[in-house]
Symmetry: C2
Subunit: 397 residues, 2 copies
């Protein structure tokens, strides 16, 4: 099991805080946006006296509500096709465990959400990364790259749309390309759509919108980012493939039920006014615009404009962002403040890729975000004056 690139520097951040330094957390997708009060109130107002197991697939009332939510997103499913999970994490784990056998291979465009590695280890399957590049804004690799990676053991492709960690929003054409590949090679298409609502350029094409791939598509979803409700640990696995649903239900029964309190919250969330996402999306877009423009104004920094989610990957003028990110916490401060970033190397499956890249989560308000980038700017100046010239020379290649 590899350590999480998002969390592995936590001890250094804790040490910096103990020294009295303020740390801006751009390393982790924990939004500062408030959870809507009415859905928190729904939990406060629960009226049961016994905190019982729910149905293993989640409360039927919640699943019926989710049908309405998905309908609004242009996805037609019934409540039997939805299994409520403990976060998106469990949806991914159940998908892997139910559809793949030990030794099977799953193709994932890299950089990718690092925890897929953990679930792959748990399910004893092999991740085969195919590279997307910062120069093209992390667009879908060409069909030829998929074809090259596919073997007799390949059983699935994972697509995160919009993407974590790149923020890339896959187009309708790219999704149709994926459809062709999965049909041709009889693969599952695991679609992680945790950031569905956060699209700033163009519209979202869900894998569930694709026609003729009902048996292939498994949607892995979560309310964590959608409603700023990460701690609830409520997600869902959605598919029209009956055999997959039956197998997932066995795993769901083995772990008894998803958490009860947060199902109440999730159910209430479906009744939020339709404009709820407008406000949240506008806020994230403002942050993205600030982040991307500020980053690209720093000498030697390049950050493509992400179309969705709330992440960006930037290339920095450093030789090794793992070292740089640690140095930011261990040896640097500006006005008694510093910034915590996620080194991008941990999001790549291929060794030595992403060494000069970092992932930034724009989960702080614009004021904090601006101060955080001030820190980064000053840090890059200082770092490249303190590290040996020979090392810096390499980074400009």
């Amino acid at each position: 099991m590899p350590p999480s690139p998002i969390r592995k520097l936590v001890p250094y951040a804790e040490a910096a805080k103990k020294k009295g330094i303020k740390v801006y957390h751009l390393n982790i997708g924990q939004p500062d946006i408030e959870t809507p009060k009415q859905i928190l109130d729904a939990v406060r107002n629960f009226d049961f006296t016994v905190l019982e197991y729910s149905h293993s697939a989640g409360n039927e009332s919640y699943r019926r509500k989710l049908v309405k939510y998905y309908k609004k997103a242009g996805i037609d499913v019934d409540h039997h096709q939805i299994i409520v999970t403990t976060g998106g994490s469990e949806a991914i784990l159940f998908g892997f465990m139910s559809c793949l056998d030990a030794g099977d291979e799953v193709i994932i465009p890299e950089p990718f959400y690092a925890n897929y590695n953990g679930f792959a280890v748990a399910a004893d399957v092999k991740v085969k990364p195919i590279t997307s590049y910062i120069e093209s804004g992390f667009a879908l690799p060409p069909i030829s790259a998929f074809e090259k990676a596919i073997t007799a053991k390949t059983k699935a492709i994972v697509i995160c749309n919009p993407n974590n960690p790149t923020g890339y929003l896959y187009s309708r054409e790219e999704m149709e390309t994926l459809k062709e590949i999965v049909l041709k090679h009889n693969l599952y298409l695991f679609a992680d759509e945790a950031y569905r609502e956060f699209c700033y350029e163009g519209t979202h094409t869900s894998a569930m919108h694709l026609k003729g791939v009902d048996e292939n598509v498994v949607l892995m979803d979560t309310i964590s980012k959608r409603y700023s409700a990460c701690g609830g640990r409520i997600g869902a696995l959605v598919t029209r493939n009956k055999a997959v649903l039956d197998t997932v239900m066995k795993f769901a029964q083995a772990r008894l039920s998803p958490p009860s309190f947060a199902q109440i919250l999730g159910e209430a969330a479906v009744d939020l006014p339709d404009n709820y996402f407008d406000t949240t999306k506008a806020e994230y877009k403002k942050r993205r615009d600030l982040l991307v423009s500020r980053l690209n104004a720093i000498p030697g920094v390049f950050c493509p404009n992400p179309g969705g989610a709330f992440y960006a990957i930037a290339q920095l003028p450093v030789d090794d962002s793992d070292k740089f990110c640690q140095w930011l916490l261990e040896s640097f401060s500006y006005q008694n403040q510093t910034i915590m970033l996620a080194p991008a190397s941990g999001f790549y499956g291929t060794k030595d890729l992403g060494r000069n890249q970092v992932r930034l989560a724009y989960v702080l308000n614009t004021e904090a975000l601006s101060k955080a980038i001030d820190c980064l700017e000053k840090a890059l100046e200082a770092y490249n004056n303190t590290v040996p010239a020979a090392v810096y020379a390499q980074t400009t290649n």
Copy 2:
């Protein structure tokens, strides 16, 4: 993945209810005992505005509280030795995944909690059952049975104490026997102690009380039954083995965090008055006494007296309890009521064992329990008059 013996008859129960028949649920360990109001209130009174991820190991404040809880149970650990999990289920899964490799074997006295099978499938390990017998009240099998089952691939023994599904409470001597075996063969001892507080005959010996096995013992725990809080989905993995903790933390980080709301509930539960368990335990003991005496008064039924938990396994004068349990829901009612039981075959790893046994969870109040046993009594009379004589003849063998 085998289906859950506890839940597989649910569709028949639903059909019975649709016909207007009242179903007494003795199939599942869902207590009717109220969750203590003060711990539900702790959740109602939360004061955060963003439902954030917690620490992957669980809130530090909760882990520090748990240290106090364990101290009262005679278990000395610090908060670094506790990882909060999503129910006891996840503690078991993490234990299996962290300590065992694909193909490893784990020995479990049977009948055993059927969901161990699911976690074994998930971790790709093999369960080797060794049989305990109803005639001895399901006491620990002799050392010779363990020795016979141990191979080079054996890595662990699972002990559930007090036991689900048998209710058997392992003695200090039996726990010392297990210690000898795990030390001799260098095995892990996975201890599921979900029912620690519910011991009616003698005292509980935790695997964590054993001396000299700090590297071997992994405790899998949950608040579900302790505080009648099954829907919270909060448990804990506790061990003094540093390497195991480090590996479990990687799995914990991959799934981000345990549910936030129920951690508040768990933390408040540690402050319940010391006499909280006295009341609950007295209630369960009353039910057990009623259940066991009523069952043993029915011709052809034998039920050993369980020393703990809230389950009992009874032998019935039927040929196949799977069929009988289905018949109870499909074809029987007494005063428009029937009873749902868990066929015991699903708790055995060895084929064809437990065919004439059922598990009963005494999770209903004595009045309901008494009516449920009325149903069972009438049902056995009716069943043995309706099934072909030849079939019944077999059951008496």
